[in-house]
Symmetry: C2
Subunit: 378 residues, 2 copies
């Protein structure tokens, strides 16, 4: 295995696959980065068994040669130190040379590194997909759907299937749902999909989606989504992302979403978010991070919080109020997560009572919603 | 105590004094911020008993009213939550009202906070200085002297006086010295000083100086330095910084500094720093973080490091070499700290042997030096 590669292209690719590289040493080979150079270019792979990221640096991009292959082959290099070295190498071109015992030489300008490599045959194989279950959507839309739902998954591993985000696809409508049973977030969008492709009970670990959101950060254009029995693959330009799916049946959440309520308010997203954020300064010092809203018919939301030994806060935010006066308490962090996920300047909140779930939606659209269960207080 | 204050001026002042506020609760009152409003303006004080920072927001700055006093008085407010609140308050003006039991109301636009305050009489008094022992220097120079020496103090509390930086003043020449006995850094400069003011054995805790460097970050102009028996005060525009001094006699370090050596090299600071930085990637994975230099008469420095189970690195950096060939090993982090502190594009290194201290200086000046003791290797 011997080739020459453009240093900046290598640095970028290593930084992408590093996001998946295992930091735990339970499976030692997974702390490494797998590299293969073949007739297409250099393939780098990082994996932590839940998720795998693979990037290809092609031989040429536009008019520039990126990889010049002398001898094809594979090797696994220790992940952390390899990525540190690549980032700090001088020069524009890296000469990469691997001997028959996987001893790897990286040479760039005056710097000359030798690393102990590992046998690439010990590295797990990347799953194969037959591309029967496939659809496409813009990278921007996928990122936005992840951002608007991913925070609501359960963080307790004991909750099994609730630590993931449910993907549902029916008649070309893609729906993401996440809930930890105190709150729920749902986002829908139309996607380009072959006739009759439906998805049910596809649940992707929240942690995998959070990494996917990060590696798609600078991506524009379209991505392909391909499903297999217990794996999902997301494919963008020269980048493959694999995640295992979660076992178990995701609960039916449609019936918990209220269709109507006692009180509906419309309010500036930014104003009510800043107000809750300030009130949370007091509640965070209390035990429970609880704040209280009192919705007044005259057209204000009173935001309140009090913690013994610290103090209290009271604010009034102007709002358009339809229906009964109502007051209720909730977890301030859950409210801030939902308000930050809303993509509209104005929100609509549907209150159903002091102890029943309330609904937060963009005022101008129905494709996103957040549900929060209030907290009982004295 | 009742007044109105410009929010942005308050935010900035609170962020400065917060740097000194204690996070430990061994002396509970020190987790608070002390506030006094009087005929000069609002005085804020934060302290952790080693160091104290006091800021005054004057009644007016330029043409703008900053503080409008109704009733003078003092209070202590819980530091962390108070500074969080101030940072997030809406509006341009904060109404600040304290009752006879120190219950404090902060009111700004629609936000209305109440905080439990504490009795200001319980807060330790700021030390008094008689200004006999005083000199002045530009803030930029003071920051630079701290930056070029502070990193070399001992981090082990057991080393007593070596955890501080020695300040010496003689015939208008100010010298800072720091050492942990494996390395030493020294920086000198001329300052404006009244005749016959000399300082000996004034040792300031390294942590205090590191904070001083941060709070002077944006300061230009001159600062006054005032000494008392066991305290130092640094005074800049509306900002007072106090630190206790360390007890004990600082060792005489002049005799350890070599006057001549076997080999002198001149090399680009940036090139040798980057080379050592890369070599440290390998040595950091070894036990000892040791790298090796071999200085060749032909005019190169070979930078090497090897760690079992990881690999090795070899680089050559062009240098002007006068004297014998020599090779020696040292702690890579110590070398990087010293090279980063040097203010010149080119450095001069004086090597005295494989096991004796070597000297690093800017190639064009004698007012700064760094000394490192090599490490014995097989």
């Amino acid at each position: 295995m011997k080739f020459r590669i453009c240093r900046t292209a290598l640095t970028e690719a290593v930084s992408q696959v590093s996001k998946a590289v295992s930091t735990k040493t339970t499976v030692p080979i997974l702390t490494g980065i797998h590299a293969t150079v073949d007739e297409e270019g250099l393939w780098l792979t990082g994996s932590n068994s839940d998720l795998t990221i693979q990037v290809c640096i092609p031989l040429r991009r536009d008019d520039k040669e990126l990889v010049n292959v002398d001898t094809m082959g594979s090797v696994v290099l220790p992940g952390r130190i390899f990525s540190d070295i690549v980032r700090k190498l001088p020069g524009d071109q890296v000469e990469w040379d691997v001997d028959e015992r996987w001893k790897t030489t990286l040479h760039s300008d005056q710097a000359h590194f030798e690393l102990k490599g590992l046998d690439p045959e010990e590295y797990p194989r990347v799953p194969r997909f037959d591309e029967e279950q496939m659809f496409s959507l813009p990278a921007e839309l996928l990122k936005s759907m992840i951002r608007q739902t991913g925070f609501a998954v359960s963080t307790s591993e004991a909750r099994g299937v609730l630590t993931g985000v449910l993907w549902r696809l029916e008649s070309g409508r893609l729906t993401f749902v996440a809930t930890d049973s105190i709150r729920l977030s749902r986002k829908e969008a139309d996607v380009e999909v072959p006739e009759e492709l439906t998805l049910e009970n596809v649940v992707i670990p929240g942690k995998s989606l959070s990494e996917l959101g990060k590696i798609l950060a600078d991506q524009t254009g379209w991505v392909d989504v391909i499903l297999a029995d217990n794996q999902i693959m997301v494919r963008s330009d020269h980048l493959l992302f694999f995640s295992r799916l979660l076992d178990g049946t995701y609960p039916d959440t449609n019936r918990v979403i209220p269709k109507s309520g006692k009180t509906e308010i419309r309010v500036s997203t930014k104003e009510i978010l800043q107000s809750v954020d300030r009130a949370a300064l007091i509640s965070r010092d209390g035990r429970d991070n609880v704040i209280k809203w009192t919705v007044k018919e005259k057209g204000v939301v009173q935001v309140q919080s009090a913690a013994q030994d610290v103090g209290s806060v009271l604010e009034e935010v102007d709002a358009q109020v339809d229906g009964e006066e109502v007051s209720l308490s909730f977890n301030a962090q859950y409210m801030m997560d939902a308000l930050r996920a809303v993509d509209s300047d104005e929100i609509r909140i549907l209150l159903t009572g002091t102890m029943t779930p309330f609904l937060i939606q963009p005022a101008d659209r129905e494709d996103a919603l957040h549900l929060i269960v209030p907290i009982r207080t004295r």
